[in-house]
């Protein structure tokens, strides 16, 4: 987002600008700081005391794995997210390839149907879906977390758009060189859509990792509970007593996304904004 300083504010207004922005920055950073510091505080310091730990300890981090099967929660989150995002990408890629590469009867209709599905919000379907999951015996399994969400029209839309702008002669050249569809996808198309795939992966990953509503419905036991649900259950169970470990849990749950953010800051912000506009 390159911008030129197009507005030059008068002195007092500029000062206000800086003050407002500073206040906002503090309002974001302070709570975060508090959480992190609380996660390192021993119990007596949690209530009251200074904003920073006087005698920092990593006990809380150990305790959170003790008091609840937090490791299992994290593993569930990680595995289901990885599987789900992977599945979403593969399915969306093949679909996008079909739309971009072939002409076939019904093409426009099918695409419209897929787009329309994007408009249908979660609440419209969760109830029958929930019943369906129970009937299928998927309740409280990874399958319930992954499978119903594998269809991602947004991903199809974005990938198709990108593939359409692909020079068609490359497909032809690959065909002449002897590559069938799969080989063309692997050798020719994929290497050239890496940035879009990366962007999609990030968005889908964060979306899945942070998800709350659906896992709330379909998970019950620690075997399939994701970290978000796990953390919430922890809070319910130990109200007040275990703030330290709770904060540690909060930090751990947020860590993967934040680390990715630190590494890929610019791309992540750009991706989210552009996806937000299109979706």
């Amino acid at each position: 987002m390159a911008e030129t300083r197009l507005l030059t504010l008068s002195r007092p207004l500029a000062a206000i600008a800086h003050i407002v922005l500073a206040v906002l920055a503090v309002s974001v950073l302070m709570p975060l700081f508090l959480v992190v510091s609380a996660s390192f505080k021993p119990p007596p310091e949690i209530y009251g005391g200074y904003p920073w730990p006087v005698s920092p300890t990593t006990d809380n981090y150990l305790r959170v794995f003790d008091k609840v099967p937090f490791g299992l929660y994290l593993w569930n989150s990680f595995a289901t997210t990885a599987l789900r995002v992977g599945g979403q990408l593969v399915i969306a890629f093949f679909a996008a390839y079909a739309f971009a590469h072939y002409e076939f009867p019904g093409r426009a209709t099918i695409f419209a149907l897929i787009l329309a599905a994007m408009m249908i919000p979660h609440q419209m379907v969760f109830l029958p879906l929930y019943l369906l999951i129970s009937d299928m015996g998927w309740f409280d399994t990874w399958t319930a977390l992954i499978v119903p969400n594998l269809a991602m029209p947004l991903a199809v839309f974005l990938l198709r758009q990108h593939l359409l702008s692909f020079p068609r002669e490359l497909y032809d050249a690959a065909a002449i060189d002897g590559a069938g569809d799969l080989l063309t996808m692997w050798h020719v198309v994929l290497p050239n859509v890496k940035p879009v795939l990366a962007a999609l992966t990030i968005v889908l990953f964060v979306d899945c990792w942070n998800e709350y509503f659906w896992p709330l419905l379909v998970t019950e036991s620690p075997n399939s509970m994701t970290a978000q649900i796990g953390i919430r259950r922890f809070m319910d169970a130990e109200r007040g007593d275990e703030i330290g470990p709770l904060m540690a849990g909060v930090v751990l749950v947020s860590l993967p996304v934040l680390i990715a953010f630190v590494l890929f800051q610019r791309q992540i912000m750009q991706t989210f904004v552009s996806v937000g506009i299109k979706g």
Binding site: A17, V20, V28, Y102, A117, M119, R232
Partner: protein
């Protein structure tokens, strides 16, 4: 055609005249694209469209204790309107939406301008910081604020104690609870909306601005007469998104912080569907409520596309 070619063609299932084969018609089995689309279509059919139909269907049914559901026509819809919980939820949603507008739609605008007017490095820093809450999960954010606002020992309290002030229990207070939820969700979304506005500002063509400058207009004039009007599509977009989001998506903070309470003070049109399903086990009501919501949102989006067609500055 030779026998050999016929055999090959049959094998490929080729058509006699490539009627639809435009430039992409190279020799390949015609079922290919369908094969690629099949998983997606099955998934959408099974997990999106079929449940959608079922929801409509269920909204006309009542689940009887015996087991077999019975058709009750519009009774659920009538019942929902009568239901005090629903009325609370509707009222809350309305309050929420109205309050969201200044906070989430209007407030980010001047902030975006501020960011636009300071140096690039400082601006980059602020943008990054503001974006962080977007990445955190709502659960994390909710837990965070529960703890800060804890009247006994939350951090806000520790700030106030030296001054002899006492933070009232905001979350468990039926009047203030909804505003807490509002505040929390604003905290989470503000940065994102600012970035949306920045994107909108960046896409404004510079030339008219330069022209106005040359004509002698000051910043204020340019702002009022050129930039804000050109920004209105973005403003409209953020407005609609915020409303839709407010009604559809705000579930997690409610569930984590207040569970809809106290006394239905924070339940909203989305949360109530959850409550109907899992607290009152009234599937009919839940389906009816959600269907109503669906058409309300649909109507809103229709308005949006109609307005968009007219409000397009190119």
């Amino acid at each position: 055609m030779t026998a050999e070619a016929s055999a090959v063609r049959d094998q490929l299932g080729g058509r006699a005249n490539g009627a639809s084969g435009l430039r992409f018609g190279f020799v390949a089995p015609p079922w290919r694209p369908y094969a690629y689309l099949t998983p997606l279509i099955i998934l959408l059919g099974l997990f999106t469209y079929w449940p959608l139909i079922q929801t409509f269907y269920l909204s006309f049914m009542r689940l009887n204790p015996g087991g077999a559901p019975s058709f009750v026509g519009w009774a659920n819809y009538a019942g929902v309107f009568d239901n005090s919980q629903f009325q609370d939820a509707a009222r809350n949603s309305l309050i929420y939406i109205l309050a969201s507008i200044p906070l989430k739609v209007l407030l980010p605008i001047p902030i975006a301008f501020f960011l636009w007017s300071i140096g690039p490095r400082l601006s980059a820093f602020h943008k990054t910081v503001l974006f962080i809450p977007t990445l955190l999960s709502f659960v994390v954010v909710a837990i965070l604020w529960i703890w800060i606002l804890n009247p006994v020992a939350g951090f806000a309290q520790t700030l106030l104690t030296p001054f002899g002030l006492q933070l009232p229990p905001l979350i468990s207070n039926s009047v203030t609870a909804i505003y807490v939820v509002l505040g929390v969700s604003t905290w989470k979304i503000l940065g994102f909306n600012v970035l949306l506005y920045l994107a909108g500002l960046a896409s404004i063509n510079r030339d008219p601005i330069e022209a106005m400058r040359i004509d002698g207009a000051g910043d204020g004039v340019i702002l009022r007469h050129l930039i804000v009007p050109l920004l209105s599509p973005t403003i409209f977009f953020v407005l609609i998104s915020t409303i839709v989001f407010a009604v559809q998506q705000v579930f997690t903070p409610i569930d984590v912080m207040t569970q809809g309470g106290p006394a239905n003070a924070t339940t909203n049109l989305f949360y109530i569907v959850y409550q109907y399903t899992f607290e009152s086990f009234n599937i009919g009501f839940a389906s009816a409520a959600v269907t109503l919501l669906f058409f309300a949102i649909g109507g809103l989006l229709l308005v949006k596309s109609v307005v968009e067609r007219h409000v397009h500055y190119g």
